[in-house]
Amino acid sequence: MSASTIKAPPIGARRKPGELGDKIFQWMCVGAGGFVLILLGAIIVTLFLGGLPAFERFGAEFIWGTIWDPVEGQEEFGAGVAILGTVTSSVLAIIFAVPVAFGIAFFLTELSPPWLKRPIGTAIELLAAVPSIIYGMWGLFVVVPFVQMHIQFAFGDQLAAIPLIGFLFQSTNFAGTSLFSASIVLAIMILPFIAATMRDVFDQVPPVYKESAYGLGATRWEVMTGVVIPYTRISVVGGIMLGLGRALGETMAVTFVIGNANRIATSLFDSTTTIASVIAMEFPESLTGSLQQSALFAIGFLLFVISFFVLALSRYLLRPRLK
């Protein structure tokens, strides 16, 4: 055994150690990434194919038709009411939630003493972790009676007497389960998402900018409107869009409190329905392969398209923040 008997392996003849493992691992990672793309594509295609019979039967009218009649023999389906209910309840929720979320974010970034920031921030984040069915039960048990007794009964007549916009409060539905209750519950659900995004983007404003404004004698509110908001407004809109996307697809909480009636709500206190709650209410009871089931797939497809665009917009606006 002398040194000369050991031959160095010819360069290039043997693979580098780990090269095969590298290839396998890389392909596993890339494959998993591809799987996610296929998954989303498959969801869209499946929903569309499921809804195809309804689309073929009712054509484009399905989108704005307002009749939803699953009774056999006279079946007719239109998504108009559900789409309108989904959009109005979500937009109202945004209108209620944004000022409060802004207040919380402002408090957490500028006003709160440092020792209080973390507990309050965590509490707000926990609000986001509460399951939606809990919001539904709580909404039915707390929000609905409150709306019924302390808003609709107490102020309904006075509000309805306001010229021009009075009809918004005029309703013959006194059950409390209404568009208004649903918007309130949705607003509370999306509040933590919007507040957390706002807090994160407000925190990213370089302190130097704020300090120079304070140095000129600006008040905290002036620093907010003059420096922080102009610097972060695109991300703030992105955060609001994220909340809107969440609200559009919310199912269980809305199902409990909106009243589930296929009627266009002309008043805040009318009951109506949303796409997601129609699916949750009717799908488990629909017959396999029936036109009703296909119509439910079809409105599911429409919901997917709507929330895809809102979420994509949110993602695009928040992009500068996300690396």
């Binding site: 919380i104 402002f106 707000i124 609000l127 008040t219 905290r220 993602r315």
Partner: protein
Amino acid sequence: MSTTTATIMASRNIEQQRSLGRRRKFVDKLVMYFCLTATVVGLFFLLSIMGTLLWRGLIALDLIVLTQEFQPTRYGDDSLPKGGLIHAIVGSLIQTSIATAIGTPIGLLVGTYLSEYAGKSKFGYAVRFISDILLSAPSVLIGLFIYQLVVLPQGGFSGFAGALALAIIVIPVVVRTTEDMLQLIPNTLREAVVALGAPKWKMITLVAWRAAISGIMTGILLAFARIMGETAPLLLTSFGNNILSTDLSRAMASLPVSIYQQANSGFPDLIDIAWSGALLVTLGVLFINIIARVALRKRA
């Protein structure tokens, strides 16, 4: 003459400035109080939810609820047996565990791809984008998807279909945290490992994953907590069941679906049981969330 005018002008100016200053301070104060109120309102909602859950949930919560299966309403007749939620608790644990077991490896690999391989490639951008869309996509639609894909061909609702639907919800949560946590690892660590001659896959699995383990675990815990409370997708896939069943090929109960069904039953005794189930789910979800946050904080 001119000096007096100037003095009058100056004093008026000071007067104006003072009133402007007062107004600015007043507006500032007003906004501060508004923000304080907003925060108190936000916290009040959390307290109200927890308070309502404890108040209503403790009425029916006892050992029977935790150990017995569903029983029909007693109509106020106390001689009839009281029902429980054990079938739903077991069903929920089975489905969420399987979902986490399926979703985690996929999410972990996708997150690893985005952090270690994707770079600035178009494919990587698309994967990140789609994963973020899935993160917020309406969960009821995932239920519809699995219904069409699994329930229809199998010919019936099944616990397995429920687990698959939940797994799809797990994936994007794990992707997000895995990528974020791997990004936090300093590049010098990766370079040191590669400089020793280790192949990249060993660098990732033995060093990068290990360095990010507590963050990744947090993501998995958060995903687990999130699917514990999911109702809508399960309603369309595993549907619910009134007896204790561990058969994955048949309809399976779950806590959120049982809560939903009993809460809407209209019978006061069943609604009380639904509230105790709601209390159990919420305590579980919040407990896991707090654990995950504490674990993450220790690391940071």
